[in-house]
């Protein structure tokens, strides 16, 4: 049985600098995997490689058994990969509702979309999504007026509207208050099992609240992998988080 997502020996280089260097990773269907590591470990680049933002310079990335490396980013997205960016990225001039409608894409063609009214999408479903992330009351508010936390949640809702099988979350709690982080953890936990999720995070409290298995990256490679408790006591992991008291203090 092949894994839902499988990276083997993947590399990415920028002018000779190897941001990701021989990374191998397996994620099973419905799993929530946390990806951690010190700054510059190549976590974000790893997500970029999976979703096609960066083209790998070597190795293979297989999603549902299909090789992704040769495809354009939008084709990868069509195959069921959704990505949340580190800097929240939503359509600021559009309302929350319109944002969701753009993300809701059963058909991607130009003609199909020209012949359809903008407001004909499955509105009940989209309303439920907005409710799921707590934005029911902001449906007709331009996304530019949302708070930082709400923008992050909106972007997660967009991935759900897109109905992505594999969701890549890049630092979903960055800049959030404790309460907001808690709510984001709730959202992640409720998605567990229905979607395959990879979360890149620094906040260990958050990782503990959602994660089962953690993968630690260091210098573009996988350093360690295992349950939270095991990783916390791993001497190699402690070593790379030099100067700190291990990842829990990071």
């Amino acid at each position: 049985m092949t894994a839902h997502l499988e990276l083997s020996d993947v590399s990415a280089s920028f002018n000779g600098f190897k941001a990701v260097n021989g990374l191998s990773l397996k994620v099973e269907k419905g799993e929530l995997r946390c990806l951690i590591g010190p700054n510059g470990a190549g976590k974000t680049t790893a997500l970029d490689l999976i979703c096609g933002k960066t083209v790998p310079s070597g190795g293979s990335i297989r999603f549902k058994g299909i090789e992704l490396g040769r495809h354009d980013d939008y084709q990868i997205a069509r195959s069921g990969v959704g990505r949340k960016f580190q800097v929240p990225s939503v359509f600021r001039q559009l309302t929350v509702r319109e944002n969701l409608e753009v993300a809701y894409c059963k058909r991607n063609g130009v003609l199909a979309n020209l012949l359809r009214w903008a407001h004909s999408a499955d509105s009940d479903g989209l309303d439920k999504l907005a409710e799921f992330v707590g934005l029911s009351d902001q449906l007709n508010v331009p996304a530019a007026h949302l708070s930082h936390g709400q923008t992050q949640w909106l972007e997660i809702a967009l991935l759900l509207a897109q109905d992505a099988e594999l969701i890549l979350l890049d630092e979903p709690t960055a800049g959030m208050t404790v309460q907001e982080t808690q709510k984001t953890a709730d959202i992640c936990n409720r998605l567990k099992g229905k979607h395959t999720i990879i979360v890149v995070e620094h906040d260990m409290g958050f990782v503990k609240a959602i994660g089962d298995i953690i993968s630690v990256m260091h210098q573009g490679k996988l350093l360690a992998e295992g349950p939270v408790a095991e990783i916390e006591n791993n001497p190699k992991v402690k070593q790379v988080y030099l100067g700190s008291v291990g990842i829990s203090g990071a």
Partner: protein, 376 residues
């Protein structure tokens, strides 16, 4: 289901078109009608630019290319229909005779057919634009660079047309044209008939463009304008969407170009000049790049003012100065043009009516969302 905003838009757009269509009832002067018809044509190009610039964020500084190509298509067809053309053997256009051309070039021949010419005037610019758009957007050229590439392309096409005098008439363009005849109707440039033709084309194009913006594709285009990458990662082929709107805009501009030849009675390289192309951007910006009807009225307003003042040399000189200043001021203080003033007014009226019911609801919403945020 139509949203309130859409209904308001349809109402405003309809009212503007109705006013345009009814104008000849008030004006009996054919010269004045010709002038207004000219403004309407310019309004059409300006509106076409708003479609690609305002809704998809593609600043096309070469909008005049499609306009000019359309106008040349019509001019070629009308040139071949003139009687005095028979100055050389086999009815060669006069300027070709002067350039010692012996036979009609092959690409002129299909223009004996008016249906072909009309199709070419719309589809030709669309094809050229499609190639250019594909070239740019596949390579993910964005923002400022799109502006530069489109401008450079415009200059290249302009240079070629001026350079190939034997086939295009060079600097002089194509002059001394016949009048267009369609379905037994003659379209004299100085007549209400031609005015109606242009007004109807404008109305049709305006509502066509409105339909594009109201479709799901229109929404996706606006999303592309905001965050291109984000749209791509939802699985849309962004380049294809941009190419589509670029081509629709080019088609409308091509049609406008054809109408311009009819109303001006000649075609000239200035129709695809940098000056005109940048003027289109001004009209669009002053009227409101994110409003089709705004861009349309912007063109009528600015071009109309220029036309009214152009009688006197002194006024025309200061006019350029005023226009430069006006443009800077609009960019600074009204980035969405005069139309945004209208929108704001409409919203104010709308919200005042709802104001009584609103506060209670809004307070409720806030308390609920804070509760959610606290995770309770």
């Amino acid at each position: 289901m139509m949203s309130k905003r859409t209904m308001r838009q349809v109402f405003v757009y309809g009212a503007v078109c109705l006013a345009i269509l009814l104008l000849p009832m008030l004006i009996n002067d054919d010269f004045l009608l010709n002038r207004f018809a000219r403004y309407l044509v310019l309004a059409m190009v300006s509106m076409a630019l708003a479609l690609s610039w305002g809704y998809a964020g593609i600043l096309n500084l070469g909008q005049a290319m499609s306009f000019g190509l359309g106008s040349y298509c019509m001019a070629m067809a009308l040139k071949l229909r003139t009687i005095p053309v028979h100055t050389g053997s086999e009815g060669l256009p006069d300027f070709m005779v002067w350039n010692n051309v012996e036979a009609l070039p092959w690409f002129w021949k299909p223009f004996y057919s008016m249906p072909f010419a009309i199709a070419a005037g719309i589809i030709g610019p669309m094809i050229v634009s499609a190639i250019l758009a594909w070239f740019m957007f596949r390579g993910r050229v964005t923002g400022v660079y799109v502006a530069i590439i489109t401008l450079a392309t415009l200059v290249v096409v302009n240079l070629v047309i001026i350079d190939q005098q034997w086939a295009t008439g060079g600097f002089n363009g194509i002059t001394d044209l016949a009048q267009l005849e369609l379905f037994g109707i003659t379209f004299d440039a100085y007549s209400a008939t031609t005015y109606y033709l242009i007004a109807i084309c404008l109305t049709v194009c305006l509502f066509l463009a409105l339909a594009v913006t109201k479709s799901k594709a229109g929404l996706i285009l606006q999303a592309i304008r905001d965050q291109e990458d984000r749209v791509r990662f939802f699985g849309y082929d962004v380049a294809l969407f941009k190419t589509m709107v670029f081509c629709v805009s080019a088609g409308i501009a091509g049609l406008a170009g054809m109408l311009y030849t009819i109303v001006m009675e000649f075609a000239s390289p200035t129709f695809l000049g940098v000056q005109l192309s940048l003027s289109i951007v001004i009209w669009c910006a002053v009227g409101g790049r994110q409003s089709l009807v705004g861009a349309l009225l912007g063109a009528i307003l600015v071009a109309g003012m220029q036309g009214a003042l152009s009688e006197s040399e002194v006024f025309l000189d200061t006019w350029t100065l005023v226009m430069g200043a006006l443009f800077v001021l609009v960019v600074l203080f009204l980035p969405n043009g005069i139309a945004s003033l209208g929108e704001k007014l409409a919203e104010k009226f709308g919200s005042r009516r709802r104001a009584a019911a609103e506060p209670a609801k809004r307070g409720n919403a806030i308390s609920r969302s804070t509760k959610l945020a606290e995770g309770k």
